[in-house]
């Protein structure tokens, strides 16, 4: 237990350091944020066009979908913020030989790497998500109670950690290829499926996003609960997160040992 606390406190130190480093590149940060918001607005425009032709999608209205979109962006924003450096393992750490330096620290390398994340532009996602969520709650006249607020905070963090665990699992590709960032990215993008109600998909995609890459637990099930549709799947989210992290750490340690025995 003391070990866990020590690791968390180290992680926070690393994050603090990253923030200080980030503040040096303020302009980059702002430009990145704005461009992220812009790409998301284009996607929202696309959803709006779809809804010019139909009233509902699998029983969901335009406002429902935008709420789901906003809730997703909250988790995506947090996870990009916290786990972005996973993309760097192959192209940056291993290719440039910086991985050795991290392996020489008296800390698990994952903590060093994750703590090195400085994707502060992801705050753009988070901000837009927050805006969408607040606006849609008002439009849909859903009373925002303290309990609901707590739920949103809690399940957004859980959602982010689900994304983080999935990215961590695929980051092991870094030990075989420098272009691991593209491997992680292609699996990660699966989450965009869950920005729509999953009833519109066929069986395979449903299975993919609930059981194989369980992105549906990130925002879809929580949003259903907030909309009062169906709530019991929501409580599976933390379980999914814990199981995924358990697998992620096991798989990652296994790959690391493999890597250390072959050398590069």
């Amino acid at each position: 237990m003391t070990n866990v606390i020590k690791n968390i406190s180290l992680y926070l130190s690393f994050v603090k350091t990253s923030m200080k480093e980030m503040l040096i590149y303020r302009l980059d940060c702002i430009v990145g944020m704005l461009s992220q918001i812009f790409t998301e607005l284009v996607e929202i425009l696309f959803i709006w066009i779809v809804f010019q032709n139909t009233e509902t999608l699998a029983g969901w209205t335009f406002e429902h979908i935008l709420l789901l979109y906003g809730i997703t962006l909250l988790s995506v924003g947090i996870s990009d913020f916290c786990f972005d450096a996973l993309y760097d393992i192959g192209p940056k750490y291993i290719r440039r030989g910086e991985f050795d330096k991290i392996l020489l620290r008296p800390v698990h390398p994952l903590i060093s790497i994750i703590g090195d994340s400085k994707e502060f532009t992801s705050l753009g996602y988070f901000g837009l998500g927050l805006f969408l969520v607040i606006t849609m709650f008002i439009k849909l006249a859903i009373p925002v109670t303290f309990g609901l607020l707590l739920q949103i905070v809690f399940f957004s963090i859980i959602g982010a950690s689900i994304i983080g665990a999935i990215n961590t699992i695929f980051s092991i590709s870094s030990f075989w290829t420098y272009r691991s960032n593209e491997v992680i990215w292609s699996f990660y993008r699966t989450y965009t499926f869950t920005q729509y109600p999953i009833d519109i998909y066929n069986g395979f995609i449903k299975l993919l996003i609930t059981a194989i890459l369980p992105f549906a637990f990130v925002a879809y099930y929580p949003t259903m609960s907030y909309l009062g549709m169906n709530s019991y799947m929501l409580y599976l989210s933390p379980v999914v997160a814990i199981v995924l992290w358990f697998i992620a750490i096991k798989v990652w340690n296994f790959a690391l040992n493999k890597y250390r025995s072959t050398g590069n």
């Binding site: 910086e98 330096k101 392996l103 250390r260």
Partner: protein, 333 residues
């Protein structure tokens, strides 16, 4: 008990054999062929606490591979490594607490931050007690002259300044063992001296065991007590530095520009104590042992056969000594 025990250490790499051309490339994708290459071949040695060891060898001789196995970065193919009672490969994180390492030009400092911030993080990572941290920081700042560097961003430091900070960072947590891989490469002479002095001081005070790989003979001369020489994956010398110098060192190379040569100097001076390495119509390259001869002796001998226009004298560097060893020109006793 030795602080580092290495027994029959072997590391074999699998190297993929790629054929040329697109066809060869496709063939490799479908049916990859590998060949094994032994980087470290049955290496054994013990290092006692407080020793200063120079681990030297040509590029590709197996130095880095050995160091990587000692630090737990690589898993040995066979054989064993025990560092202060721990198997680094199995207890990597625990082992990391008791060691420090500098790998060439790679920095462990945070690039965008002032040096002192990196030191604070290191303090936190290694759980260095406040008192100990302050004491070390004060001392290191003094010896390595870091006073004005601590508040500067790492990226704005010169190579020499960066290496001084790097060395300080490595010793901050009072490691039992420190691995220094080419710590003085590319540095000017003042910084080199500074770093060598620091290593010696800390070793004397804290009995820190230091393993140093370098191509600079002066590093070895000034810092190390013992030399381990590795070639093609095997140890070919392991012993005191003084003895190593007796066997291999003390050679001077003199190059002469000459004219009006009357005879072949190589043939005429066969009986002499020096050796002509190269001879052309208007140049001579001669190697001799500085214990036995001086340049004046050489000039005396060869001026009988030619007119000397110019000369250039240099000590035989470690690299040349090593080259000779590899070529088999120096035979060990």
């Amino acid at each position: 008990m030795a602080i580092i025990e290495v027994k029959n250490l072997v590391k074999t790499y699998k190297i993929s054999e790629k054929q040329n051309g697109i066809l060869g490339y496709i063939k490799h994708l479908l049916h990859p062929k590998y060949r094994e290459q032994t980087a470290v071949n049955n290496v054994s040695f013990n290092i006692e606490e407080g020793e200063l060891v120079g681990y030297i060898g040509e590029n590709g001789a197996g130095k880095s591979t050995t160091i990587k196995m000692l630090t737990g970065l690589l898993t040995p193919t066979s054989g064993s490594v025990v560092v202060n009672g721990l198997v680094p490969n199995e207890k990597r994180i625990q082992n990391n607490k008791q060691i420090g390492a500098v790998f060439g030009q790679k920095t462990q400092l945070w690039w965008d931050l002032p040096v002192i911030e990196s030191f604070r993080l290191i303090k936190k990572m290694y759980d260095i007690p406040e008192g100990e941290y302050r004491k070390n920081l004060k001392k290191f700042t003094e010896i390595l002259q870091l006073e004005e560097l601590l508040d500067k961003q790492v990226k704005n430091l010169s190579l020499g300044q960066k290496m001084r900070c790097e060395i300080a960072a490595t010793f901050l947590h009072n490691p039992k063992i420190v691995y220094l891989d080419e710590p003085t490469i590319g540095l000017d002479i003042l910084v080199k001296d500074n770093i060598r002095k620091f290593i010696k001081d800390i070793n004397k005070e804290k009995k820190t065991t230091v393993i140093l790989t370098t191509h600079d003979l002066k590093d070895i001369e000034e810092v190390c007590d013992r030399i381990i020489l590795i070639d093609k994956g095997s140890i070919i010398y392991d012993g005191e530095k003084e003895k190593f110098k007796d066997i291999y060192g003390n050679k001077i190379i003199a190059e002469f520009v000459v004219k009006n040569k009357t005879k072949s100097v190589t043939l005429e001076t066969q009986e002499e104590d020096f050796e002509v390495i190269e001879e052309t119509e208007n140049s001579l390259k001669i190697r001799f042992n500085h214990d036995k001869l001086t340049v004046i002796n050489i000039v005396d001998s060869i001026s009988k056969y030619c007119e000397i226009l110019d000369m250039h004298v240099q000590e035989q560097g470690l690299e040349e000594i090593l080259k000779e060893i590899y070529r088999g020109e120096i035979i060990r006793d």
